[in-house]
C-alpha cells in the first residue's frame, strides 16, 4: 500500500508566511523521499486562503523535483479551463523531464465560483472545457503533429515541445469529488482518480468509488490497474490526547478558510455541479458546529 503527501495550503498570513510554507514543504519532501512515501501532490487555486498560495502546482513541484530522487509528483489538480491547454501540455512535459519521468498529471474542473468569474469562464462549460483540454493535451503528448478543431480551441500542425519522458504519456488522474458522472467518465477512459471524502458520507464514497471501478472494468481496462488517491487530513502524535489537541486548531483554520472560499456558492445552482450544494451545506454545518462548540466549551468531535 502506498502513502502520499498532499500540500494544500490552508493557512492565513498571521499563521505563517507564504515563503515559510514553501520552505517547509521542500524540507518535508526531501525527508518523505527518504522515508519511502510514494507521492507529493499540490493544488491549483486562486484568491482565497483556501489553496490560493498555490496558483500553479507545477512551480512548487519543479522545486520539489530538484530536491528528491524517487517520489512521484502529482498535480492535484491543474485546471484546463483556466489555462491554455497547449501551453499546459508543454509545462507538464517540462516537469516530466525535470523529474525524469516522475509526473502524475492530475486534472480538475474547479468548483469555486469566484475563480470562474475572474477568468470569465462559465461554470456551465467547465466539464466541456475540462474534457477538451485533456483530449488536446494527450494528443499533443502522443502524436507527432496535431491539428485540432474543438469547441474552445483550434490549431493547425503543432508539434509539442518538449516531449514527455513517460511513454505513451504520463499517467492521467482525475479529481472527482461529488459528481457521479466524473467517476464514471474517469473509469471509462482508463484514468486514475483523486477523491476527497471530506464532507461526503461513507455510503456515498463507497458507491462513487464502486461506480468508478465498474466503469473501468466495463470499458475493458485491466481490473486492479486502476488507482485511487484519497485526500485526508492526518495528524499523528505519541498520545491520543496530544493528537486531539494538536489537530483542533489547524483543522478549524482549514474549515474556516474552506467555508470562506465556497461562500460564493450562496444562491448558485448549476446542473453541471450536482451534489456540490450539499457539499457546501456540509462545510457550512461544520463551521456552525464549531461556533456552537466554542460557545459551549465542548470538545472537538467533528
Amino acid at each position: 500500500m502506498r502513502f502520499g503527501l498532499n500540500f494544500f495550503p490552508s493557512f492565513r498570513l498571521q499563521d505563517m508566511s507564504t515563503a515559510e510554507y514553501y520552505a517547509l514543504g521542500l524540507r518535508l519532501s526531501e525527508r518523505a523521499d527518504e522515508l519511502g512515501y510514494a507521492s507529493i501532490k499540490t493544488v491549483e487555486h486562486y484568491f482565497h486562503d483556501y489553496g490560493g498560495h498555490s496558483p500553479n502546482p507545477i512551480v512548487l513541484l519543479s522545486a520539489i523535483a530538484a530536491r528528491t530522487r524517487r517520489i512521484r509528483l502529482i498535480t492535484g489538480a491543474v485546471i484546463p479551463a483556466f489555462n491554455n491547454p497547449i501551453k499546459l501540455a508543454g509545462e507538464l512535459a517540462m516537469l516530466d523531464n525535470i523529474s525524469n519521468g516522475r509526473l502524475d498529471a492530475g486534472f480538475g474542473r474547479a468548483f469555486i465560483p469566484k475563480e470562474f468569474d475572474v477568468f470569465k469562464v462559465s461554470m456551465e462549460e467547465s466539464r466541456a472545457r475540462f474534457e477538451e483540454g485533456i483530449d488536446i493535451i494527450t494528443r499533443l503528448w502522443t502524436e507527432e503533429r496535431v491539428s485540432y478543431d474543438g469547441k474552445f480551441h483550434s490549431f493547425r500542425d503543432v508539434r509539442l515541445m518538449p516531449r514527455p519522458v513517460q511513454k505513451p504519456h504520463p499517467p492521467i488522474w482525475i479529481a472527482a469529488v461529488a459528481s457521479k458522472e466524473s467517476f464514471i467518465w474517469a473509469g471509462r477512459h482508463g484514468y486514475h482518480i483523486m477523491i476527497v471524502p471530506f464532507a461526503s458520507n461513507l455510503d456515498l464514497v463507497r458507491e462513487l468509488v464502486q461506480s468508478y471501478r465498474d466503469a473501468w472494468r466495463e470499458a475493458g481496462h485491466p481490473p486492479g490497474a486502476e488507482q485511487i488517491q484519497s485526500s485526508l487530513h492526518c495528524y499523528v502524535a505519541e498520545t491520543h490526547q496530544e493528537a486531539m489537541e494538536g489537530f483542533k486548531r489547524p483543522v478549524e483554520r482549514y474549515i474556516e478558510v474552506f467555508a470562506e472560499a465556497v461562500s460564493s456558492w450562496a444562491g448558485q445552482q448549476s446542473n453541471q455541479y450536482a451534489g456540490y450544494s450539499k457539499l457546501v451545506d456540509a462545510i457550512s454545518a461544520l463551521t456552525a458546529e464549531k461556533d456552537d462548540r466554542q460557545s459551549h466549551r465542548a470538545g472537538w468531535n467533528a
Partner: protein
Amino acid sequence: MIDSHTALVGTPEEVIEQVQFNRDLIGEHEPSMQINFGGIKDREAFRTLELFAARVMPHFQTPVASEPQPKNSNITAKRSKSTKL
C-alpha cells in the same frame, strides 16, 4: 471528521485502524495526506511524517486485492474494535 473517517488522527495504533477502515470501505487506495494544513509548522508536521513512516506504514506492506469488502460488511464491528485500542 475523525468519526466519519475523513481524517487520520491519533496515535500510530489508532491511525492504523483508521487506514484499515478506509481500505475495507473503498478497497486498495493511496491516502494522500495533508500533514501541514491550517498553519501547522515544522515540529508537528515532521512528527506526523516520522511517526507515520516508522509505525503506520510497516503495517501495510502486504498487497491485497483491490476490491472493497462486500457491501453491508460489518463496519460497526470494526469501529468498536478501533475504539478499544
